[in-house]
Structures are given as C-alpha cells and as structure tokens.
Subunit: 155 residues, 2 copies
DNA sequence: GGCTCCCTACTCGGATAGTTGCTGTCCGAGTATGACTGG
DNA sequence: CCAGTCATACTCGGACAGCAACTATCCGAGTAGGGAGCC
C-alpha cells in the first residue's frame, strides 16, 4: 500500500499558495519551480484540487491558482480525497460468498467481519486526517520559511 | 492508495486454517479451492505469512500450512504487515528542502510538518489494526460458516 | 485624445506515452509415504 | 514375518510473464492584456 506522491505535493503547494500575495493568482509553473517539481505533472495535481473545490483556477495571463477557502477550512482529509479519490484502501471482494456453502450459510445482510474490522481502522485514519487542517500545519512551520516563500512568490 | 487484495485472502485463509482439523496441515490448493482463488498466487501470499512467522509450513505429502500461534495472538496489523510490508503509506520526500532557501531556512532536525501530520493519522490506523486479533473476527462469524468449512477441510 | 478592435502571449485543461509495482503463473527442491525386496 | 531400501507422488519455495495504476509529458482551448488603428 502506497500513497501517491502527489498528496505531499498538494499539501505543500496549498501552503505555498496561501503564502503568496493575495492580489494575484499563482501559476503552476511558479510553484513547480519553487519546489523543484515537474511542472506538467504538478499541474495535473492542482487540477484535481480544483475539481475538489479546494483551489480556484483562473486561465489566461496573470492567471493561476488561489485557495478557494481559508486554510483552517481545508482538512488533510480533503486533500487526500482530492488526489487519491474517495474509494477505501481495503475493498472487500466478498470471497466468503465464493465458498461451496457460502451463499447458503452466509447472511448477505450481515457485513463481512474482515471488512468491518478493516473499515474500523480506516475510519480511525480518516478521522485523524479530518481533524487536522492546513492551518494547523501552517502554524508549525518556521516563520523564516514562510517569509522566504513570500518573497519568492512576490517578485 | 489501494491495499493489496492478498490481505483479504490472507485473513480469510488464516481463519480457514484455524477451522481445519488440527491433526494435519492444510495444503494451499485445498484453501484455494474452498475460496475459489487462484492456487499459485494464493500460495505466494501464504509464503509471505510464513516468512512473517504467522503460519508454519511443512513440505511433502500430508504437508501444508498451519497456524504458528493461536488466533488471539495474531493481530490484523501482523497480517497487513506480512503482505503489504512495513513501509508507511505516506513517504515524505522532503520537498521542503528543494526550495531555493530550503536548506538555509529549514532545520533538518525538525521533522516536516506534513510528514508528522500524516504519520499521526497512519499511527491511528495501525493502532486500530493492532487492537483487533483474528480471534475477534472469528468470534463474529456465524457458527454455520465455521461448521461448513470444517467439514470441507476434514474430508 | 479616447475608444474599439485585434493580435499576442500566457494559463489552465484534458488527452497521450513510459515505468514501476501488483497480479497471475510456472517449474524445480525437498520430504513423507507406500511398496518392494531381501533376510 | 520384519526391516531396510527405493521409487513415487505430493507439497512448498522461489523465479518468470502480463497487466493495471501511477508517473511524466505534451499540445489545444480559452482568456486577459497590450498595441494599433480609427473616430
């Protein structure tokens, strides 16, 4: 099980956009250059964030991305779902029904015990992600880093 | 992010092995036939469980797999780690250090805030997995299912 | 001088190849069983 | 009748293809801005 690298990029880029001046949108190319990331692929991730309603994009000259809502209203869960999708990591294929007596002895109304146990763990994971906002992460970043980003994005 | 399908197989097969008669080991082919799974690939998963010390294998005629320890001593975390590996799903690549001023402003001793937040969520997930044993799952399976499996494995 | 129109350049957006890891498969090494042979 | 030996068949174990998803990339649609031309 491996989370897409785009999630890390997405979180960092949301913070970078928050640190940029508010008066104008931040182009994807600028973000890519700042974090030394491949620009076209980063663009793809930012598009996903836009579709999820986390970012707002404006095309044309002086266009780019800006936050659709403040940092404290964006949870890590939002970002992860935007990039990775909403499907659960564990997907029960109901192999208990494939047993010789499966369809006779198993009550389809009762969910698979394995599935329930996995979902319980995944719920704890999601709950923890939903409990942390980008503002929380922002608060634990050293001010010098934020100041450095701001100057690089002001230009 | 998607968990390997082998995890589901592994948990169900551990239960199946537990339900089989204790006097002899259960061959992988028998398990595969019972759950309608591809035998060679299931064998691969069982090998992983053996390497992790969850199962014990005996080659030769009347050989097969049996539990290396009782159900209550096997957690879901054990099974997931055996199949998926121990690497965390989120792997921080420290892109914060790739910024122009990154190596100057970021203190390498302070961990990445994004990484810490993700690890916190993943820890909650692992904690929940470690808190559930196969005995717990076994307890919530209908007795008829267990009886059916036992007869099919006794033969 | 001011307004309108057009052209340019810039940006996002989705459609298109490359690569890694999971899925599925196969055959060889090793061993307990059972039969056979000799005492 | 019993013990030793051998052949056999069965099982796990690791090495080998196929496929899907992630990674990386490109080019086209759309738009704001600036300049030229006209009134």
């Amino acid at each position: 099980m491996r989370m897409s690298e785009g999630v890390e990029w997405a979180v960092h880029c949301c913070l970078g956009i928050a640190w940029a001046p508010d008066d104008r949108a931040l182009p994807a190319a600028r973000l890519a250059a700042y974090y030394s990331l491949p620009a076209p692929y980063l663009n793809k991730q930012l598009q996903a964030l836009t579709r999820a309603g986390i970012l707002a994009s404006t095309p044309g000259p002086r266009g780019g991305f800006r936050l659709a809502r403040p940092l404290h209203a964006i949870t890590l869960m939002d970002v992860v779902c935007a990039i990775e999708g909403t499907d659960p990591a564990f997907r029960c294929t109901e192999i208990r029904l494939n047993t010789p007596e499966g369809r006779a002895t198993v009550d389809p109304g009762v969910p698979c015990a394995v599935d329930r146990a996995m979902n319980r763990a995944e719920l704890a994971w999601r709950r923890e992600l939903a409990g942390q906002t980008l503002a929380d992460i922002h608060a634990s970043v050293h001010p010098d880093v934020i100041a450095g980003a701001r100057t690089h994005f002001t230009d």
